[in-house]
């Protein structure tokens, strides 16, 4: 028995609102105009035989199985390519048609291996099905004629094989590669009987194929077949779940045999992906059963000791005792934890609950700190909500797309394909990126403008764009009058119109010609629907939050908010960044982005959780490190995040981890952070989890367990056990109860439950009484905050600039086949595409330094150095180098600095001044000393304070144009809302020392700051 396939209507649904009525086999059918006869027939259950048609692809009309008869029409038109017309009378069955269909199948089978019983697609083959449907009983041509039975099999791709002998030349794979994926790697080679599918005349691995699986998904036979199916056999049951890679959040069907995954296939019902996938989600799930996986708890006294496998009880007790001991000795605020964007909403929620309620402090942060925290800050300041405004589908109505600091075809491939589809339909494209990403020019896609700016000059370019629109009067006055805070607009307009924000002035720091800026601005302002999509190239800067507000300004200015086709859209890096943020993972806010200082909200949580909660923000991740280095922060619970590899300035992170008394790591693998851990709590892969992920479009998707937990426990159970052992009893019978609590405590989640999600598939928050079916598009009638607020976005250049010693600027990113720190993807065959991090360098810079393509280089910044191989590339301009951070061996974050966003501490990963030199040494991390560089300062407190000074001064600088009094208020407000008591106290102490490096507004603000340390006394 094979598993049931999803219904396939043969051709895509028509979007027409006009209806036509026709008769099919005596049934009256009403369908949208433009619907094919095939689809209309399928909708009334009269499915017509087909092979070349599938509803993810435009009708093709090649197999000729779907022929029908239409009264009054000559011949036998193909039902896939013939649109319904009013009054049509269609017959899907007649003796003539039956004979034709049988004739077609007779031809197919005359050139097909007769090995059904041993074929991997046996029972899951459309060709086999159709032979049955048409009643083929005999192939009168015999089997001795010309055939393709000896055609070779291409096994080069690690995940699927291409057995040409089984190909029926229906072109579904070729069309899927073009229409669905947009890569156009496949073609039909030769013609007539010699027609064959070809990856551009090469094998799959050496072709342009990106292994997205669209071709495999589209193949009606076993020609393109997953190797797991060939090895294991046909799946027998299936479970709908959600991919755990990027923030696109694709829905997948886990096709199982017992407790074993046979394959993951993209689900057509998935709101985010609608049946498409990428190489990671589709194929790279094998890490879940990799030998490196740790499935038993382990502890050790010292990090130099061997790990000791222990029972769950012993591990929990050991961890709890350690935490309690630290708090007893160093105070309630000496411990904390980090939640993971890789985990479910439910798992994250219980961790932050444990920290707030059981640890008794707000020292909880999440890995979004290092990626999209500026998104939360910027969008909530301007619009009132910490999330993107659109659903993914919205891009189908966009006329001009602006992509800033994002590389969707590599990092968000399934959305990238959706974007490319819209671009092929004729939407305009503006790319703002220091690097020539694929979208700038690839098959059938070309950007109108590529504003190739210098790293670190985002705000300059966004201001210049807005300046042009403001000065030329291209803005949407009606939208602004109706929807925005006109006072803030008037102030902002005066600000943005200043010549210093103009394209000529800004072309100097950005390096982008003023004419290009002007033209791009005009294009964005004059097209009907303009949408901005951005990634970490926006947020991971010292002015990340400023840039997010700059984009929000631009969207409001052009009236591009509140309907389909427009909006500001963060492309989230990890599967549940949005959810982890929503769940109250930040030190200053509870779930649903409600501030801890809000007495009403805090009172609700105190009532629900039955304990007193702190009213001041806790430590952010970098503050935890700084505090650890001076001995104030001693214990940490790290849920599924490899901070020792992913966070900037690895040396600093490792020193901080090494100085702690108790590091508890909950993860699948012994990652880089686990090297510093005393307790290892084995985690569960997404295949074992039962919960929800929230993707970049605020879509809450169900994650269902397809196999039993390899550790014997759910992660949330472990967290609850630890909280209980620490002294705060926490218990849920089922993860759905956690969601029920989230819904009860979080207004935007009020209408969410597992039952509802299981019924409707997915929900986009806010989902509550006002929006019971969720909210695909936000700010439709009004902004969440009421009136949209324009924020002045003065350019404050980063302190990280190229110098004589470090003349190049390094920027970092992701490649398609690998994912973040690579913990998962490195443990799959994806390493065949990308087995090491390479340094992209322009030929001019390479030549100057005697570097050749593929040679080893040392990459050094002022904080550290590493070695990797060089790749000469014209994707980067001279002066800019680029690498990825997927491999611990090369450890790109060894060189990134601890500079960060002024508002959120999001690290400035995207700008690091570096020098490159050739080396003969292969691989591995070199120390700064080895390279003769100045060692990293060990004066940790001085470093931590320098960071605070830099952040405070920048807040002042952002506001200084308004005058001293408003700037003081702004600094005071920001520090009050987001800084922990310790940070405030440190800065006050520093100010008192009279060094004189603080801006007047900061000094003014410090005079009025109240450090509320009363809460420190609450017992954990």
């Amino acid at each position: 028995m094979t598993i049931m396939r999803d219904a396939d209507y043969g051709t895509p649904a028509s979007t027409s609102t006009e209806l036509v009525t026709l008769t099919i086999d005596g049934n009256t059918v009403e369908v949208p105009a433009g619907t094919s006869i095939m689809r209309a027939a399928a909708e009334v259950g009269m499915s017509v035989p087909k092979l070349c048609a599938t509803d993810s692809l435009a009708a093709f009309g090649s197999c000729r199985l779907c022929l029908v008869e239409v009264d009054g029409r000559r011949g036998t038109p193909a039902s896939c390519t013939t649109p319904c017309e009013p009054g049509m009378v269609v017959h899907t069955q007649s003796p003539k048609i039956e004979k034709l269909r049988k004739g077609v199948m007779e031809l197919y089978i005359s050139d097909h291996p007769l090995d059904c019983l041993t074929c991997p697609a046996n029972g899951d083959c459309e060709l086999q099905d159709m032979a049955g449907v048409v009643g083929l009983r005999d192939v009168r041509y015999g089997y001795d004629g010309a055939n393709h039975l000896d055609a070779p099999t291409d096994d080069s791709n690690p995940y699927f094989s291409f057995d040409e002998s089984k190909c029926i030349a229906c072109s579904r794979c070729v069309r899927a590669c073009g229409e669905v994926q947009g890569t156009f790697a496949l073609t039909i080679e030769g013609r007539g009987f010699a027609s064959k599918v070809s990856p551009g005349g090469l094998d799959f691995m050496n072709s342009e194929c990106v292994s997205c699986g669209a071709c495999v998904q589209a193949c009606p036979t076993s020609t393109l077949q997953e190797k797991t199916v060939i090895q294991l056999g046909t799946p027998t049951r299936k479970v709908e779940t959600t991919c755990a890679y990027c923030g696109v959040g694709c829905s997948f069907t886990a096709e199982m045999r017992g407790d074993q995954v046979v394959r993951m296939t993209p689900s057509k019902k998935g709101g985010a992906n609608e049946g498409h996938s990428c190489v990671k989600g589709r194929f790279a799930w094998g890490y879940a059963s990799h030998d490196d996986r740790i499935t038993s708890p382990m502890i050790r006294e010292k990090i130099t000791d061997e790990w000791r496998v222990v029972s769950w009880d012993e591990a929990i007790e050991y961890a709890a005792n350690g935490l309690k001991a630290i708090q007893a000795k160093y105070g309630v605020n000496s411990i904390g934890g980090i939640t993971s964007s890789r985990c479910t909403n439910e798992e994250v929620y219980v961790v932050q609950k444990m920290i707030r309620a059981a640890f008794g402090n707000n020292n909880v942060d999440t890995c979004a700190r290092v990626c999209h925290s500026p998104t939360g800050y910027g969008l909530s300041t301007t619009f009132g909500t910490s999330a993107g405004t659109q659903d993914f589908k919205s891009i189908g109505k966009t006329d001009v797309i602006m992509v800033i600091g994002a590389n969707p075809t590599e990092a968000h491939p399934v959305f990238g394909s959706r974007m490319k589809r819209r671009l092929r339909q004729g939407a305009h494209l503006i790319v703002v990126d220091p690097r020539r990403i694929d979208l700038v020019k690839s098959a059938h896609v070309e950007a109108d403008y590529h504003l190739q700016l210098q790293p670190g000059t985002n705000v300059a370019i966004i201001n210049a764009l807005a300046h042009v629109i403001a000065v030329e009067g291209l803005y949407d006055q009606a939208f602004i009058d109706e929807r925005c805070d006109t006072e803030s607009f008037a102030e902002w307009l005066e600000f943005i119109k200043r010549p210093e924000n103009g394209p000529e002035a800004m072309s100097i720091p950005t390096g982008v010609p003023a004419d290009d800026i002007r033209a791009a601005a005009r294009l964005f302002a004059t097209e009907t629907n303009g949408a901005i999509y951005y990634g970490l190239g926006v947020t991971e800067h010292s002015q990340g939050s400023t840039m997010v507000m700059g984009m929000a300004n631009l969207a409001m200015l052009t009236g591009n908010i509140g309907r389909e086709g427009v909006g500001i859209n963060p492309l989230r890096g990890q599967n549940n960044v949005q959810g982890a943020c929503d769940m109250g993972s930040f030190p200053h806010e509870f779930s649903g982005y409600r501030h801890v200082t809000d007495d009403t909200v805090r009172g609700q949580f105190e009532a629900m959780w039955g304990t007193k909660l702190q009213s001041q923000p806790g430590l952010r991740i970098p503050n935890m490190f700084d505090a650890a280095l001076v001995g104030e922060f001693r214990g940490i619970y790290v849920q599924g995040e490899d901070i020792a590899q992913s966070d900037p300035n690895t040396r600093h992170v490792k020193a901080a981890l090494g100085s702690m008394d108790l590091v508890i790591v909950q993860d699948l693998f012994l990652n880089e952070t686990a090297a510093f851990a005393h307790v290892f709590l084995p985690g569960t892969s997404f295949l074992e989890k039962n919960g929800t992920f929230t993707n970049a479009e605020r879509r809450i998707n169900r994650v269902r367990p397809v196999m039993t937990s390899r550790t014997g426990k759910s992660e949330w159970e472990v967290t609850c056990a630890l909280a209980t052992a620490v002294g705060y009893p926490m218990h849920y019978d089922h993860s759905s109860q956690i969601m029920d609590e989230i819904a009860a405590m979080t207004p935007t989640f009020a209408g969410v439950s597992f039952a509802k999600l299981d019924a409707v598939g997915s929900l986009q928050w806010p989902c509550n009484a006002a929006n019971p079916e969720g909210t695909p598009i936000m700010h439709k009638a009004a902004f969440v905050r009421g009136k949209g607020r324009f924020m002045e976005t003065g350019v404050v250049p980063t302190d990280e600039r190229s110098t004589r010693k470090f003349p190049l600027l390094l920027t970092t990113g992701r490649v398609l086949s690998q994912y973040n720190v690579g913990a998962q993807t490195r443990r799959t065959a994806n390493i065949e595409w990308h087995g090491e991090d390479m340094l992209e360098i322009h030929e001019a810079d390479a030549e100057l330094r005697g570097i050749t393509d593929g040679s080893w280089v040392e990459l050094a910044s002022r904080v550290g150095a590493t070695t990797m191989r060089a790749r000469i590339s014209d994707r980067v301009p001279p002066g800019v180098v680029y690498t990825t951070f997927h491999f611990p061996l090369s450890g790109a974050n060894v060189v990134t600095t601890d500079y960060s966003d002024w508002a959120t501490n999001c690290p400035e990963y995207k700008v690091t001044a570096v020098e490159i030199r050739p080396t003969l040494t292969a691989g591995g991390l070199a120390s700064a000393e080895d390279l003769g560089l100045k060692p990293h300062s060990t004066d940790y407190r001085a470093n931590a304070i320098a960071t605070l000074v830099r952040m405070a001064n920048q807040i002042a600088s952002n506001n200084e144009s308004k005058g001293l009094a408003p700037a003081i208020i702004a600094v005071e407000r920001h520090i009050g809302l987001f800084w922990s008591n310790g940070m405030k106290a440190d800065l006050i102490e520093h100010a008192a020392s009279g060094v004189g490096d603080l801006a007047p507004a900061v000094l003014g603000a410090l005079g009025t700051l109240v450090v509320d340390s009363a809460m420190d006394d609450i017992e954990a």
């Binding site: 197999c63 896939c80 034709l100 005359s110 009168r140 041509y141 010309a146």
Partner: protein, 509 residues
Amino acid sequence: MTTIYVPRDSAARSVGADDVAVAIAREAAVRGADVTLIRNGSRGLLWLEPLVEVVTESGRVGYGPVTESDVAGLFDAGFLAGSDHPLSVGIVEEIAWLKDQQRVTFSRVGIVDPLSLNDYEAHGGLVGLRRALEIGGDAVVEEVLASGLRGRGGAGFPAGIKWRTVRGAQSDQKYVCCNADEGDSGTFADRMLMEGDPFTLIEGMVIAGITTGATQGFIYSRSEYPDANDTMREALEIAYLNGLLGNGVLGSEHAFDLSLRVGAGAYICGEETAMLESLEGLRGMVRPKPPIPALEGLFGMPTLVNNVMTLASVPGILVDGSAAYQALGSERSRGTQVFQLAGNIAQGGIVEIPFGITLSELVNTYGGGTRSGRPVRAVQVGGPLGAYFPADKLDVSLDYEAMLAAGGMVGHGGVVVFDESVDMSLQARFAMEFCAKESCGKCTPCRIGAVRGVETIDKIREGVDRPGNLVLLNDLCDLMTDGSLCAMGGLTPMPVQSALRHFPEDFQR
């Protein structure tokens, strides 16, 4: 001074026209004769090529077929004055073969210097375009409709309806595409017109452009036609230089750009949708219809696709008026058809004549029977996918409806003659083989069916289960006819089944 015409047509060149032209020039120089040598198109009397014409007071006197070695003798005989010679055919226009034709589309071919716009205008060129500019698009559409002109590429769709559809389509960009991928065996009318009177095609396309609202045109020709392509390119350059193309066509407000594209040798690219794919830079694969190209054609825009003969007929229709054209022909087949006589035929070439002539007249009267002198056994009409007619059924009237009724088609007007030595089972096999070789490979009946067709005919010829395989062959033919995506697979059974029907004995040997 004497004007001498030696054709530049590739059919004439293939039998030595270039050598003859050089010899004449040399001989004239040696003898001090004052001659102007013009390389004209071919008159279409191919058995007389190279046909040298000398302009005399009584008209253009022809000599042919002339070889290089005949030239001195011609001079000796005083051919510059039109004197008699064994090769003389007299006044060319008076040759009954030519005189009895009604040349409308081919009215200037062979007469004018193909690359002289002055000569073109002197022979009535550009009058149609000027009239089109004067009467406006709606009126032009009415004229084309009223003329009864049908698509000469083979399908015979009323041209005026297509023109009206494209004209009515709303779009920022429309195209006119001329299908000059003349791939049918035994056809050469498109080529001869492009080589002999390219401005007529250009004028027809400009009229189509300004009428439908298309501002860009493409001529899709084939790499096998190097001479025609060279001539077209030169003609296009001349047309641009003289304001016939580009902005402000003939000083009007209309703009029309036209360029030549050359296919790479696939027969299927003569199918209009495969041609559009090829023009877009894609593989020549057939597209399903609907959408029809008139609404969604080249690059998805409304596109008028017509054959060379169709477009080249339009200027003449506008000059003489639709009524004059409509007056010609029979039934619903109006105007003239440019028939091309080829194969085993004594007098091959171009016969442009109103619809309604019988096949017998064409083959026996014009063609003069077979070249071999043996009796005619079969005649294939309409290219390699057309039906075979046996010698006793040549009285069929050559018009769209009568041919259809007789199980055949006019197609592009190619007529190929076979004598009694032909084995019709091999001809049937050839049809399948041709389809197998030229199929784009998209649809199953054509891609696999043609190969199985060859194999099945081989079995029949070898005597393997003849009754069973004949049933199978007929089933396959029905499947290909009804099930194929385009006319390529759909028409391949026509020659096969006509051979089976009329020559069953050849399958039982």
